[in-house]
Amino acid sequence: MSTPQPPMPQQAAPQPSMPPQQAAPNWQAAPAPSYTSPIPIVRTHLGHALSSEWTKIRSVRSTMWTLGVFVLLVVGIGLAAGAAVSSSSPDLSGENPLSLGFFGLLLGSMCIITLGVLTTASEYGTGMIRTTMTACPSRGRVLAAKAIVFFVVAFVITVVSAAFVGFAQVAMLDGTGADEPTGDDWLKGTVGIGLYIALLGLLSLIVGSLVRHSAGAITIMIGTVLAPLVIAMFMFSESLSDLRDALFEYSIPNQLSVFYDNSLSRSGPSGWDPLWIILGVTAVAFVAAYALLEKRDV
C-alpha cells in the first residue's frame, strides 16, 4: 500500500482511461465532465511527511545558524574550559573531566531551544502552516514528522559535539589527576546529555506549536530554563528553604549537571532521573499539542 508508484511519463493531455489509485473519491461517478491526473496517486504516510520535514529543516538558514552557533559554543567553551583548567594545573583528583563540557552545553541548549521553536512557530509566523496543512490535512502527522526530524537532528548534533569535546578534555586533563571517565560516565556525558538536550528542544518545538509565536515561545522556554534558578537565588527566607531547594534541584541547569554527577545538591534527581522527568513532561505536552492542533483553526 505504502510503496510509491514508479513515476509515469508526464503527459499534457488528461488520460480519462486511467483509473485513480486506491479508494480515492469516485470522480468518475459524477455525471459532469471530470479530470483525472496522469500522475499516479499514492497513499501518503508518515514517511512522506518525514522527507518533507527533512527538506524543510535543511533548506532554511536558521537551521544552519542555530546549529552552527550551538557547535561553536559547545566546542569553543568546552575547549577553552579544558585549556584554562589544564594550564592552571589544579588538583582534580576524583573529578569527572567530562563535566567541563557542561557550560558550553548549557549555553548551547539555547540554540537548540531556538531551533525547536522555529521549526513549528516560524510556519505560523510566515503563514506557511496554511500551505502545509492544505498539503497534508492530517495535522498530527505533520507534528509527528517535525518532532522526529528535529529530535534526530538535535540528538546527533549534541552527541557528536559532546563526544568531541569530551575526548578533547580528557586528553587535555591527562596528568592533572582527574579520573579516567568510566563507560557509564561516557554514556551519560554523550548519549544521556544528547537525549536530554534533544528532548528540551522537542519540548520547545511543542511549545512553539502551542503558542504559535516564535518570540513568545522562545521567551517561555528560556524562562523555563533560567527562571527557577534565578527565583531560588532570591529566596532568602528560611520558611521557603524547601521550595528553594526544590527549585534548585529541579532547575534545568542542575538537571543537566546531574549527567556529570556534579549536581548542586545530593538530594535531588540523580543518575538518569532528569531524562525521565523531561521525557514525561514532553510526552504530556506532545499529547496536548496534538489534540489542540487537530481541534484548532489553522
Binding site: P4, A30, T44, E53, V60, R130, T131, T134
Partner: protein, 406 residues
C-alpha cells in the same frame, strides 16, 4: 464539485459566514465575489479544512477536505501568496510540498516551468515580488495536478502578461473538466474569466448564477439623454416630463441624464412632446462592475468617505470662497449606480429579519445606501465645520509657521 451546506463560521461575537450554501461545478470557472471582509477567505479556509465551520459543512467530491485520501492530489489551492517561508528557495518550497503528497520531484521542475519561475528556482522567496509570489502560489496549487482548484485573488500583483496568463490558465483548467473556484474583487477580470458567479456580502449568499444572468438581473439598462448644455431649463423640463411618465432620472456628472424605466422611443417622444431638443440619446448596459456594486452596496463593511482634513487647512483669506467640491463618481452619490429594476422594489439587498445590525455597528443594509449621502454634502466646511473653526485656528496657525520661517 464543491458543495457547501448551511456553512456558518463565528469568531466570538462576529459572524464571518452565515448559512452559506452553494455548489461549484466542474468544467467551469466559478467566480467568488464579495466586498472586503465579506467572508470569502474564511469560506475558502473552511473548504480546505483549515477552519472548522461552527455549523454546516462543506465537501469536495462528497468528502470533507480532511477526509480526502491524499487531498493535495484532489484539490490544489492558492490561498495567500505570502504563505511561504521566505528563507526557502522556490524549488525547495515546492519540493517539500511535493514530498508531503508523494509527488515525484520531477513534477516540481515541471510546474516551475509552467509558471515561468525556473530561472529563480534557487532564489529565496523572500526576495520575490508580489507577482512572483503569486506565480509560486499558483505553482503549488498546480503541483498535484488536481481535479479541483481554488484560487484566492490569483491576479493580485501580476503584470498584464501575468493576468492574461492566469485568465487563460483558469479557462484551460476548466476546459479540461476541472472545478475552478476563483475569488476576486476585480470585476472586469471576472467578467472575462468566470462562467458562473457566487456573490456574498456580510457572509451571506447574495447571488449564485451565471455571469450573463447576473448582469441582466442586477442591472437595469439605462438610456443616456443629453439636452443642449446652453439651456439648463430644457433639462429641467425634460426631467419633469420623464419623471411624470414613470421614468427614473438621475443627473450625471457631465450634465447628461441617466434614465431608467422608459424605452428609448418613448423618451424621444416625450422630449418631442415637451419641445426639448436632444443632443444625445443612447442605450447603455451596466457593466458587471456596476451590477456588482449595486448588489453589494448594502453589504459593504468598509466604506471610504471623503477626506475632510478638518482643522488642518489654512484659514481662508477673507472673502475667498472654498473651492467647489466636485462630486466624484461613486462617492457620496447614493444613486450613482443604476437604480434597481422595478420588480425588486428598490431594495437591492435586504438582510434577513431578526439579524442584528452590521458587525461593526454599521447600519443594517436598508439604511446603508443612505449613509454616504450624509458625508457627501456639497461643501462639508460650510456647515458642520463652522463651530470648530475657531478652535482649529491655533492649530492651523501653528502649521503655517514652518512655512513662514522658510
Amino acid at each position: 464539485m464543491i458543495e457547501a451546506v448551511g456553512l456558518t463560521k463565528r469568531y466570538g461575537a462576529k459572524t464571518a459566514v452565515y448559512n452559506l450554501s452553494f455548489q461549484v461545478r466542474p468544467g467551469a470557472v466559478t467566480g467568488f465575489l464579495g466586498p472586503n471582509g465579506s467572508g470569502k477567505s474564511t469560506t475558502m479556509r473552511m473548504i480546505l479544512g483549515l477552519d472548522n465551520p461552527t455549523s454546516g459543512q462543506v465537501t469536495i467530491g462528497g468528502f470533507p477536505y480532511r477526509k480526502l485520501p491524499n487531498a493535495p492530489r484532489q484539490v490544489g489551492a492558492l490561498l495567500d501568496a505570502k504563505a511561504v517561508h521566505g528563507g526557502r528557495h522556490a524549488r525547495n518550497h515546492l519540493l517539500c510540498l511535493a514530498q508531503l503528497s508523494g509527488i515525484p520531484a520531477r513534477r516540481v521542475d515541471e510546474v516551475l516551468g509552467v509558471v515561468g519561475l525556473q530561472d529563480v528556482a534557487k532564489r529565496r522567496s523572500k526576495g520575490f515580488s508580489l507577482g512572483m509570489g503569486q506565480r509560486l502560489g499558483i505553482a503549488a496549487a498546480l503541483l498535484g495536478d488536481p481535479q479541483v482548484l481554488l484560487f484566492d485573488e490569483p491576479v493580485n500583483g501580476l503584470d498584464p502578461e501575468g493576468i492574461l496568463w492566469v485568465r487563460n490558465l483558469m479557462k484551460s483548467l476548466a476546459a479540461e473538466g476541472r472545478t475552478v473556484f476563483v475569488s476576486s474583487h476585480l470585476m472586469s477580470e471576472m467578467a472575462l474569466t468566470a462562467d458562473h458567479l457566487i456573490v456574498i456580502g456580510r457572509g451571506q449568499l447574495l447571488s449564485d448564477m451565471s455571469v450573463k444572468d447576473f448582469i441582466s438581473a442586477n442591472s437595469a439598462d439605462f438610456a443616456r439623454v443629453r439636452t443642449p448644455d446652453t439651456e439648463p431649463q430644457q433639462r429641467e423640463k425634460l426631467s419633469a416630463a420623464l419623471t411624470e411618465a414613470g421614468g427614473q432620472v438621475l443627473p450625471e456628472q457631465d450634465g447628461a441624464l441617466r434614465v431608467t424605466g422608459l424605452p428609448l422611443p418613448r423618451i424621444s417622444d416625450l422630449a418631442h412632446g415637451a419641445d426639448v431638443r436632444l443632443w444625445e440619446l443612447s442605450p447603455h448596459q451596466a457593466s458587471l462592475e456596476e451590477a456588482y456594486m449595486r448588489m453589494t452596496q448594502g453589504a459593504v463593511d468598509y466604506r471610504s468617505t471623503i477626506d475632510q482634513r478638518s482643522g488642518l487647512q489654512q484659514e481662508m483669506p477673507p472673502g475667498a470662497m472654498p473651492p467647489p467640491q466636485m462630486p466624484v463618481a461613486g462617492q457620496g452619490q447614493p444613486g450613482w449606480y443604476a437604480p434597481p429594476p422595478p420588480q425588486q422594489g428598490g431594495q437591492p439587498f435586504a438582510m434577513p429579519q431578526g439579524q442584528p445590525a452590521g458587525p461593526y455597528g454599521a447600519p443594517a443594509a436598508p439604511a446603508a445606501p443612505a449613509a454616504p449621502g450624509s458625508t457627501g454634502g456639497p461643501n462639508p466646511y460650510a456647515q458642520a465645520a463652522q463651530p470648530s473653526a475657531a478652535a482649529a485656528q491655533p492649530a492651523a496657525s501653528d502649521l503655517t509657521k514652518p512655512e513662514d520661517a522658510r
